[in-house]
């Protein structure tokens, strides 16, 4: 049994050592960059999707260019909603 107990103490020491350097400075900066990129694509994707929907609806109903303009702004609003939600989620994680 001594062998497994010895292993347990060693595991404990290794775990406590590991916890201290959990996030180094470089890793933190990397994840900040990832977060920033996440927000950017969140915004752009919704604007793109909104505009494409507007374009498709326009060519269906023949109402060029009104729906594409309206859906561009709706897409921008959706993008901001996305960014807002992602930022909320990030704050909860920290």
């Amino acid at each position: 049994m001594t062998k497994s107990e010895d292993f347990k103490t060693r595991l404990k020491i290794a775990k406590s050592k590991n916890q201290k350097k959990y996030l180094s400075e470089g890793e933190k900066r990397g994840s900040f960059m990832g977060n920033a990129f996440k927000l950017g694509t969140e915004l752009v994707a919704a604007v793109g999707v909104g505009t494409i929907i507007g374009f498709i609806l326009d060519s269906w109903f023949g109402t060029k260019p009104w729906l594409i303009i309206i859906f561009f702004f709706l897409g921008a609003a959706a993008g901001m909603l996305n960014v807002f939600r992602t930022a909320n989620r990030m704050q909860k994680e920290d």
Partner: protein, 244 residues
Amino acid sequence: MANNPMQQFNVYKIGPEINIGGVDLSFTNASLFMVISAISIALFLYLGTKEKKIVPDKLQLLSEMLYGFVAKMISDTAGSKAKPYFPFIFSLFMFVLLCNMIGMLPYSFTVTSHIIVTLILALFIFIAVTVIGFIKHGFKYLSIFVPSGVPAILLPLITVIEIISYLSRPVSLSVRLFANMMAGHTMLKVFGGFVISLGILGGWLPLSFSVALTGLEILVAFLQAYVFAILTCIYLNDALNLHH
């Protein structure tokens, strides 16, 4: 050959041309590297779990750590209800991670730097999550488009915005992974080209940049696989637990 930084993204056919019903199904270098990643995942997990030792060796430790990492990620973001989807998210995470990492090797091909690959992955997730939501909640799932506590006048507007926001999920998921991988690899190639063109006198500065960028790219490769998997968990959470 090394002058064009975009040349690394070329897809070319390997072996004979296969044409089934007018659809070109030839084996390309992209398919080759997907097969390599899939085989190396299977081999790695097989070797890692073959002998179940109490004191694990390196391979077993690594596979157990990856298992624990993904299991914790799922339970943290999507709760205990998402446990049945562990195999799906684990294989997704491993596939994206291995594709990114194998792409970091010289002379290899980065599968995830092509938007068609990431878009298909993201669309699959999007459709799967939507189907799971409808199976679990029926037509009540549509209530995620109608947030509570909104005045009746604003409701149509908010619903349209919510639908656009929902439809933008696969786009942002795929574009993020594709753009990160492609930008990073292009930058590596551009700095590599500077080293050659500036020669032995001026080439040291871009060379040091190249070394730093390689480290950063490995970090990005891991981080993007992680983000891809965690967003899948978040979408799954929205589908499993309606809380609007």
